[in-house]
Symmetry: C3
Subunit: 457 residues, 3 copies
C-alpha cells in the first residue's frame, strides 16, 4: 500500500543518514590517530608521522574504491562460501544509495585498519615503504579478512546459511577484523624493522643496560587524539548495525553505545590503578601515569568492539577491566622481547583485539546475541550452551593471525632486504622532518627582544 | 494496523539514533573541557589536569552506571513526589533500547557536571581528592538534583501531574541542573582550597599588592576547547528534546539550535567589547582579549541552556548579551573576594547558570513554552502572565545552591582538615606533572645541532 | 489517512535532525579553519588570527540573523526573478521548525564564506577592518550571491521555473557560492593590503632577491585543522540535499559522501606527488611536503563541492587530481604576482572553487543530475548533450567574480586610504598578539631548575 511505500522511503533516508553519521565519526578517528601518533613521537618526526596518517586515509580511499571493496564484499551469497569477492571494482554496478553509503562506511573501517600500523613503526620507517604496505593492506590483505568474517560468503562468517560450528565468528564491529589485522601487521613490521636507535641498543648496536623510553613530545596532542578516538568509536560500534530503521536494530545500537562507554571507562581505570600499584610495589612512590589512562581506555574500546552488541553491561565492565591488564602485560612483554612499538599500538589493538574476540566466546548473552545475530543456540561459555562460539572465536583469531602473517612477513622481509624499509641511521638521528620533509614541525620563536623593546617605547 | 506498527519501528530507530548523536556530541564536550583546561593552566600542570578530565569521564560512567542513574530516574511516577530514585542500579531491569540510549545520554550530562569542577581547582588540588568528590558528584549529589527537576517525581519538576506553582521549574537542558551544580561545587571547592601560591598571596601567605594572573600556557588549546564545547552544545541543547519523531519535537529541536547559536554569538561579542571599553576607560589602550571572547561565548551557551526551547530568538540575543556582562561581573567579583578560579569556570557555569534560569522566568514565550512543555498558563514575566514561572525558577536555583552547599561544604572541609585536599607547597611550585605524573607534558627539543650539521654535509 | 499523517511527523523529525547534524558538522569547520590558520601563522600572531576566527563565526550569526538570511532567501518565488530577498529579518515570521533549522544550516555556510578570508590576510590586517568586512560579507555580499544561485527567484538559479539556459547554474553545495565568494574576497584583500614585511620586500620596501617563506608555527595544528575540515565536509556536501526523508534524497546524500571522499583523496595524492616530482626535477632531492598533502585534500574537497551530487565516482577522481594541479599552479602564480596569501586560501578556495564549477559543466552525469535537480536535458560536456550547462557554470562564476569585485574592491580601497586596513609596521614586526592582545599565545616555560632541584632532594 502507499503508506508502506512511503515508510520504505523514510527508512531509506534514515538508514542512509545513519551510516553517513557513523562513517563520518569513524573517519574522524583518523584525526584521533594522527594526533595520538604525533603527540607520541619525538618533535623531530612529527611531520613525517602525520603525513603518513593523512596519506593512508587517502590511499585507503583510492585502494578501497578501486579494488578493496570488490575483494571484501563483491558478489557475496550466503548459500556459498568463497575466499575473495570479485565484483564492484571502482564502484561499478553500484546503483542504489544504500550501496554507496555502505562503501563509505566500509572505507572508513579499512582506513582505520591501515592507520593502526603507522604509529608502531614511527620514527624509522621509510615513507615509500609505508605507502606500499598501507595500500597492500587496504587493497588486499584486509579485504580478504573482511570477506571471511563479514561478507555472507565467508568461510567463518556468522552470516552464511551454514555457518562454521553452527554460529560462525561473532566479531560485531571488528576487534578481530580491524584491530587485530592492523595490530598484527604492526607487530610483524616492528619486529622486522627493529627498534629505534637508543631504545634497546645504542647507535653501534650494543645492548643498553635498561630500555630507554622516549618521552612523547606533546601529551596534550595524545589526550586530544585519545578523546577523539573514543568519540569516533560511537560511530564505529553502534554504526556496525548498518541500519537503524527497526526496533531490533535500535536496541542493538543502544546497547553498543552503553557497553562501549562502560568498557572504555573500566579499561582506563583498570590500567591506571594497576600500573600505579605495580609501580608502587617496586619504587614506593605513588605516581599516576596518564599514558596508562589513555591506552587503558583505548584497550577497553578495542576489546568491546567484538562484543558491543552481545554482551551485558556487567560483561562489558569485566571486558574493560581485563583489557587494561592485557594492555599492561603485552606492553611489558614487547619491551622484554625488545620489540619497539613507538605508540604501544600492538598491546592496544592486537592484544586487546584478541581479548575482545575471546570475550565474546565467554560472555555473549543469549537474548542479545539472538537479537544482533540469530537464535542459533551457541552463546558465551558462561551461559552453559557449550563451547562452539568460543571455538569459532579462537579459530577466527588464529585465521587472522595466520593470514596476515603469511602475506605480510615475506613482504616486509623483501622490502627490508632491498633496503627499502628503514631510513639511514643518520636520517633517523637527525629526524625525518629535517631529512625528508623540509624542516621542523614547529617554529615557536617569538619576535626578537629588540623589536619588542622598540615597540614598548 | 501494520503500517502504524512499521512507523513505530521507524520512530524507535530514529529516536535512538537521535540520542546516540546528541549524547556523542555531549560526550565530545569532554574533549573540549580537557583542551580548555589544559590550555588554561601553566605548563607544569598540564598532564595533571588532563588526567583529571579523562578520569572524571570514566568515573562518571562507572558511577552513573552503578548508582547514579538509579538515583536520578529510578521508579519515577508523575502522580507522586519523592526525593531520590531507587531502581535500575547497574542498569538492572533495562529491557528496551530506548532505556539504554537514555542512560547513555544522561551519563554524558553527568560527566559534564563533574568535569566543570576540574578547571577551577586546577594546579593545587590532590588527585585522590578530585577523584573522591567527582564520584560523589556524579553518583549522588547531581542525581538528586536531576531527580528533583527532570524526573517526573521531583518536587519542583515541570513533569509532575501537580507541578510546583502550577508550572514547575523549566530548565530545559540544564543551566541549573548541570551548570549550576558543577559551578557551585567549583566555587565551594575553590573557597576551601584557597588560591594558588602567588596569585593573591606570596609563598609565605602575605597578600600581594595586586592579584597576579598566570598566563595560560597555550591559547591555541583554549580556542580548540572552546570551539569543541560550542559544537558539543548542539547535542546538549537540541538533544534535550529526547526524541525527534514528531513535528512538535522537531520544532523544539530546531528552535534550540537557533537560540543556542544566537546566544553564544551575542555573549561572545558582548563580553569582548564590554571588556575592551572598560579597559580603555582605565588604561586608554584598545586591546581585544581573546579570553573574553571565548568565555563570553561559553557564558551565552550556559545561559541559553535553560531556555533554549522556550525563548524567542530576540530573547536569546538578550540572554547572551547579559550573559557576557554576568561573566565579567562575577569574574571580577571572585578576584575581589580573592577566590582563585584557574579557568573562570565559576563565572561561566555558576554565574550564567543562574542567569539562564532567571532568563526563562523573564522571557519564556507562551507558544513555544506550550510546545516544549504544556499550555499551563505561566510564562515569562514580560508576557504578563504573572510571576509563577519566575518564582519557580528562583526557588529552583536556590534549591540547587542549598542542596549542593549542604552536602559538599562539610565534605570538602573534612578532606581539607585531614590534609587530603591540597598538595604540598613544594609540589605545587614544582608542578604536579613532575611531582606526581612522571615528568613534563612536553618535550619539544629537536635534534642536536651537531647531528644536523653532520647530516647536512 | 492517519498513517500518512504519522509518516509526515516522522519525516519532519528526520529532516530536522538531518539538518541539525549537517549544520553542526559545517559549524565544526570553524574549528578546523581556526586551527589551520593558527598553525599556519607565526607564533606572534596566533591569538590575533584565532580571535578573528571566533568573531567571524559570531558576527556571521548576528549578521545572518538580522539581515543576511532575509536577503538570501526572503520571499523567494520560482515564478519570478529578482536580485535580493526582502523578508524574514531577525527571523520574523518563522513559524515552523523546518524554517528555523534551515536558518541554522544556512548560517553555518555563511560563516564558512566569511572565515575563508581570515587566513589570507593574517598577520597584518587590522582587527576592526576584519570585523567590518566580515560583517559586510555575511550580511550583504554573500546573501546576494546565494539569492542568485540557490533561492528559487535567482536570475541564474537552477530552481526557477524558467532557468537560465534551460538549466541554470548547478552549484550543489557551493564551490562557487561559498568558496569562490570567500576566495575572491581574500584575493582582492590580499592585493590591496600588500604582502607581509619580509615576504617579497624588506622593511624599506625594496624587493628581495627571492620570496621568503615564513614557516608555520605548528604543523600539528595545521593537520588537526585540515582533518576537521575534511570531516566537516561530510555535513557540507551531503547535507546540501537539505532533506533525507525520501529514497531520492538518500541516494544524493550517499553519492555526495562517496564523491567527496574520492576527490579529497585524489587531490591530496595529486598535489603531494606532483610537487615532489617538480621539486625533484629542480633540486634532485626527493622531499614530501605535508603542506601539499593538506592543501591538496582541501583543494579536492572544494572542487567536488559543486558536483558532489551529480558526478560519477570516476569524475570525482579526475576532479580531485586536477584540483591538486590547480592548487599548485595558482599558488605559484600568486608568488609570481607577489600577492601574499598567508595560508594559501586563494588557490584552495578561489582556484578550486572555479574549477569545481567548471567540472560540473564537463562531467555532470545525466542520471545523477536528473535525480539531484531535474531531467532538463543539459548535462556535462562529455555526455554530448551540448554546452548549455557548461555555459551556465561559466557565466555563474563570472557573475560571482564580478559582483564580489565590484562591491569589495572600493570597500577595501576606502578602508586602506583611510589607514584603517593595515597595522603599523612596528606592530606587524612585534606581532599582533603583543601589540593588540595582551601578550603571546604560549608560555611553555616550566618550573625553574632550583625549585625542581629542591623538590628532588
Amino acid at each position: 500500500c502507499a503508506a508502506f511505500e512511503s515508510i520504505g522511503e523514510t527508512n531509506d533516508g534514515l538508514d542512509t543518514f545513519y551510516l553517513l553519521f557513523a562513517a563520518s565519526f569513524v573517519f574522524f578517528m583518523q584525526t584521533g590517530f594522527a594526533m595520538l601518533c604525533a603527540g607520541s613521537v619525538r618533535q623531530k618526526n612529527v611531520k613525517n608521522i602525520m603525513l603518513k596518517n593523512i596519506l593512508d586515509a587517502c590511499g585507503g580511499a583510492l585502494g578501497f574504491w578501486s579494488v578493496g571493496y570488490a575483494f571484501a564484499y563483491g558478489g557475496a551469497d550466503s548459500s556459498k562460501k568463497g575466499f575473495i569477492g570479485n565484483s564492484g571494482f571502482f564502484l561499478s554496478g553500484f546503483s542504489t544509495g544504500g550501496e554507496l553509503i555502505g562503501w563509505f562506511f566500509q572505507f572508513a573501517f579499512a582506513a582505520t585498519a591501515a592507520t593502526i600500523v603507522a604509529g608502531t613503526v614511527a620514527e624509522r620507517c621509510k615513507f615509500e615503504a609505508y605507502l606500499a604496505y598501507s595500500l597492500m593492506l587496504t587493497g588486499f590483505v584486509y579485504p580478504v579478512v573482511v570477506y571471511s568474517i563479514w561478507s555472507s560468503s565467508g568461510w567463518i562468517t556468522a552470516f552464511n546459511a551454514d555457518p562454521f560450528l553452527g554460529c560462525g565468528m561473532h566479531d560485531f564491529a571488528g576487534s578481530g577484523v580491524v584491530h587485530m589485522t592492523g595490530g598484527i601487521t604492526a607487530l610483524i613490521a616492528a619486529k622486522i624493522l627493529g627498534p629505534r636507535i637508543g631504545r634497546f641498543y645504542d647507535a653501534d648496536g650494543n645492548p643498553l643496560p635498561e630500555p630507554v623510553s622516549f618521552p612523547p613530545h606533546s601529551v596534550a596532542l595524545q589526550v586530544l587524539g585519545t578523546f577523539i578516538l573514543w568519540v569516533g568509536w560511537y560511530g564505529f560500534n553502534p554504526g556496525s548495525t548498518l541500519a537503524i530503521s527497526s526496533s531490533a536494530s535500535a536496541a542493538v545500537c543502544a546497547l553498543a553505545a552503553v557497553t562501549t562507554t562502560i568498557a572504555a571507562a573500566a579499561g582506563s581505570v583498570s590500567a591506571l590503578f594497576t600500573d600505579m600499584f605495580l609501580s608502587r610495589m617496586q619504587t614506593g612512590e605513588t605516581e599516576y601515569d596518564i599514558t596508562m589512562c589513555m591506552n587503558g581506555a583505548l584497550s577497553g574500546l578495542v576489546a568491546i568492539t567484538a562484543g558491543c552488541a552481545t554482551l551485558a553491561p556487567w560483561a562489558a565492565f569485566v571486558t574493560g577491566v581485563v583489557g587494561g591488564w592485557v594492555y599492561i602485560f603485552v606492553s611489558n612483554l614487547l619491551v622484554k622481547l625488545r620489540i619497539d612499538d613507538a605508540v604501544d599500538a600492538v598491546p592496544v589493538h592486537f592484544g586487546n583485539g584478541m581479548w575482545g574476540c575471546i570475550a565474546v566466546g565467554l560472555f555473549a548473552e543469549p537474548g542479545r546475541t539472538a537479537n544482533a545475530y540469530s537464535a542459533h543456540g551457541n552463546y558465551g561459555l558462561v551461559y552453559g550452551t557449550g563451547a562452539n562460539l568460543l571455538g569459532a572465536q579462537v579459530v577466527g583469531l588464529l585465521w587472522i593471525i595466520g593470514w596476515v602473517t603469511v602475506i605480510m612477513t615475506p613482504y616486509f622481509l623483501l622490502l627490508n632486504s632491498m633496503g627499502l624499509f628503514r631510513v639511514d641511521s643518520i636520517e633517523e638521528e637527525v629526524g625525518l622532518d629535517i631529512s625528508h620533509h623540509k624542516g621542523a614541525a614547529y617554529d615557536i620563536s617569538g619576535p626578537d627582544e629588540s623589536t619588542v623593546a622598540k615597540f614598548e617605547l
